[in-house]
């Protein structure tokens, strides 16, 4: 197996950002180009595209670009196929990713917005499925300054291993998408009227 080829990124902006494509089930024209978290620093729709990518959008090769915490979701134009366009899109994308200053998110994207989307993705993904399969649910109460506040309910509340499942799986999964995560605060769903101190937080759930 030898040594792992590590593509250095972040030195001088010339190195190639490691990306690989993953299909989205049920959506043939969409590919998630998985990249290291924090490569772009914003999420959502893109307002200004780097010069290399804009032409692809203009000529109809690409229909839509949407940024996730650790991936870029690219939807091809109506009559395009990834088999033929894949290499071209990848080269353009990779060139564009070397200089993040050329990208502008639509609306001022804050780090907390990135974190919030990461949390949503984790809850929609296999960690959420795991919690649901145990008859519990996790509700996001707020995301603020790198902290996530969630509420556990169903069989999760009062479960002695809830601390473990959350601290372990949920936090690790979020951290993978958002390494700057400071901490996750979990509350048990209490009886109505006895919620503690949540009013202090500015709620920015999505």
């Amino acid at each position: 197996m030898g040594t792992t080829p590590e593509a250095q990124h972040g030195d001088g902006g010339t190195a190639v950002v490691p990306v690989h494509p993953e299909p989205v089930p049920g959506e043939e024209r969409v590919i998630r180009w998985v990249m290291p978290p924090g490569t772009l620093g914003f999420v959502g729709a893109v307002d200004v595209l780097p010069p290399g990518l804009q032409p692809l959008l203009d000529d109809g090769t690409i229909e839509e670009i949407f940024v996730e915490p650790a991936a870029i979701r690219v939807r091809l134009g109506q009559d395009r196929a990834w088999r033929t366009e894949g290499a071209r899109v990848r080269s353009a994308l990779q060139a564009a990713l070397t200089d993040r200053s050329r990208w502008t998110g639509r609306g001022g994207s804050s780090p907390d917005a990135v974190l919030a989307m990461a949390v949503t993705q984790v809850l929609d993904g296999h960690v959420g499925a795991f919690v649901r399969s145990h008859g519990g649910s996790i509700t996001v109460i707020g995301v603020h300054a790198g902290e996530v506040e969630v509420e556990l309910s169903g069989s999760c509340s009062h479960c002695p291993s809830a601390e473990l499942t959350l601290a372990g799986r949920f936090e690790n999964a979020v951290r993978e998408l958002y390494p700057e995560l400071r901490r996750i605060r979990a509350h048990e769903a209490a009886s109505p009227g006895s919620r503690r101190g949540l009013g202090l937080l500015s709620l920015r759930t999505r």
Binding site: M1, G2, T3, T4, P5, E6, A7, V16, V17, P18, V19, H20, P21, E22, P23, I31, V34, M35, P36, W82, R83, G86, A87, V89, R90, S91, Q94
Partner: protein, 518 residues
């Protein structure tokens, strides 16, 4: 496409890990893990192989541009949560010595030397057992077969010829046992790594050494292994050198000749002289193979780009008994099959040639030989056989090397397969001295020319024979594979020609040198 991950047990043991689900998603193809030797892990793979239509295919193929490819690999490994295994601590400590430029090389030569000592010492009792078996069979033939022609066929061709080759089965099995042991514990790749430096001097890369190393067993897998060489020029050069490596077919010939040259009691301190001579023969073979590859790679005009040399160093481990048994059984079976086919047929043809034309009693009496003396009669028949005529016909070629017609017949016959040489001498010896064929070779005297009556197998002749067998391409299977792998008869013809000339010239030099010394 489907990816099968092997050695996952080793990965876990060395604190590495990989997430198959993540890897599967990132690669876009099925990924399964198997551990060789654990049949129950194969279920998933079997299921997958049964239905290739269901396999996922990647939506976008991996990039070809180097920078993009590196980035892709890094990204896929991250997605597969790949944690690199740490180097096995024991392996690292052992490698610090075994791969050391000085100690490693010394240990390499010591290992190889011990290797040949073992082949001689450990195989001797087994070999004696096989010899006893054939001696017993010979006694049965003498006692019960009355028909002289059938008796001669059974005792000369079957027991003297085929049996003479079969005696070497223990040694061949032992050779393969030791090669697969060295390979199984992981030492072979270290040897290849150490030799990469030497190969670089020969203008070749380490992969060529792997091909040459395979040729130690047989040149055929060695020539096939040259397929891994990216440059056509290197490939041909390696192919031209590979048949010079000492293959297992040379082993019986060498053992026989060394037995004639050095007594088993001769020792250099604790080391047997026979094993030492064998070691030198292997060394000279390896050196010649590399020198020849070097010459052919220089002759090739175009100089391709230098390719990097990758070689995986497996951790040291004990090979499973099952794989060791297989490693010995397969080549032993192959050897027995070869004895049963090529060697048997050639031996029968030779027996016919050595015993025909049949001589009437009157003719033998007319030649002044007592028809009651079986040994004298068979010696007379042998001396006037078709084979003798053929051997004498080529005598001008081999006379300078000190060979007489009997050796010539053996050399001619060995063009089909080297072991036939042993079978031929076995037959001749059995015919000349039916009572004690094992001594017959040593006692054999020159029949023709000015040296008639002198001992035939002098040190000079034996040494010349060894060198001749070291260089000559006496293996039609190798020629056939070379033709197939190089795509024309040109290269096998060149190889056969240059090796014959080389064999003749070197044998002459050695014969002259040894004759001057003794």
């Amino acid at each position: 496409m489907c990816v099968v991950l092997t050695f996952t047990d080793e990965l876990t043991r060395r604190q590495g890990s990989v997430d198959l689900t993540g890897l599967r998603r990132a690669l876009g193809v099925p990924v399964v893990a198997v551990v060789a030797g654990r049949a129950r892990d194969l279920g998933e793979l079997r299921e997958l192989m049964g239905d290739p239509q269901s396999w996922m295919t990647p939506v976008v193929l991996p990039p070809t541009d180097t920078a993009e490819l590196t980035a892709w690999i890094s990204s896929v490994l991250t997605a597969g949560r790949y944690a690199e295994p740490c180097v096995d601590a024991r392996t690292r400590r052992v490698d610090a010595v075994l791969l050391h430029p000085l100690w490693g090389t010394l240990i390499f030569f010591a290992t190889m030397f011990a290797f040949f000592q073992v082949i001689f010492t450990a195989a001797a009792p087994l070999q004696a057992g096989v010899e006893d078996l054939f001696g017993f069979l010979g006694g049965l033939v003498d006692a019960h077969v009355i028909n002289p022609l059938l008796g001669s066929f059974l005792s000369d061709a079957m027991i003297g010829g085929v049996g003479g080759v079969l005696v070497f089965l223990p040694q061949i099995a032992l050779l393969f046992f030791m090669i697969s042991l060295l390979e199984g514990v992981g030492y072979m790749s270290r040897a290849a790594f150490l030799m990469d430096r030497v190969m670089a001097k020969a203008g070749l890369e380490g992969r060529a050494f792997v091909a040459l190393l395979s040729s130690l067993a047989c040149a055929i897998p060695g020539i096939m292994a040259t397929r891994t060489l990216p440059s056509a020029r290197d490939r041909l050069a390696t192919m031209m050198g590979a048949p010079l490596m000492t293959c297992s077919a040379r082993l019986p010939v060498y053992v026989l000749l060394i037995g004639l040259l050095v007594s088993p009691d001769t020792r250099f301190g604790p080391l047997g002289a026979q094993g030492a001579v064998m070691f030198v023969l292997y060394l000279v073979g390896a050196f010649s193979a590399m020198a020849s590859a070097w010459v052919f790679s220089k002759l090739g005009r175009s100089r391709g780009p230098l390719m990097p040399f990758y070689m995986e160093m497996p951790p040291y481990r004990l090979p499973s008994p099952r794989s060791m048994v297989l490693a010995v059984w397969e080549p032993s079976k192959g050897f027995l099959r070869k004895v049963g086919k090529i060697i048997l047929v050639t031996t029968i043809v030779l027996w016919a040639l050595l015993n025909l034309p049949a001589r009437g009693e009157t003719e033998i009496s007319a030649a002044g030989i007592d028809t009651g003396d079986d040994a004298a009669v068979s010696a007379y028949v042998l001396d006037h056989s078709y084979a003798a005529s053929a051997g004498r016909f080529v005598a001008p070629v081999f006379d300078p090397l000190g060979f007489d017609w009997r050796i010539n017949v053996g050399v001619l016959a060995s063009l089909s397969a080297r072991e036939v040489f042993v079978a031929t001498l076995g037959q001749v010896a059995a015919a000349e001295d039916p009572d004690n064929p094992s001594n017959a070779l040593e006692q054999m005297t020159v029949q023709d020319g000015p040296q008639a009556g002198e001992k035939l197998f002098t040190p000079a002749v034996v040494a010349a024979l060894m060198v001749f067998f070291l260089y000559a391409l006496q293996c039609m299977s190798t020629v056939g594979v070379m033709r197939r792998e190089s795509g024309s008869w040109r290269w096998p013809a060149i190889a056969f020609g240059y090796m014959f000339v080389l064999a003749w010239v070197m044998a002459l030099l050695v014969h002259t040198a040894v004759a001057a010394l003794t």
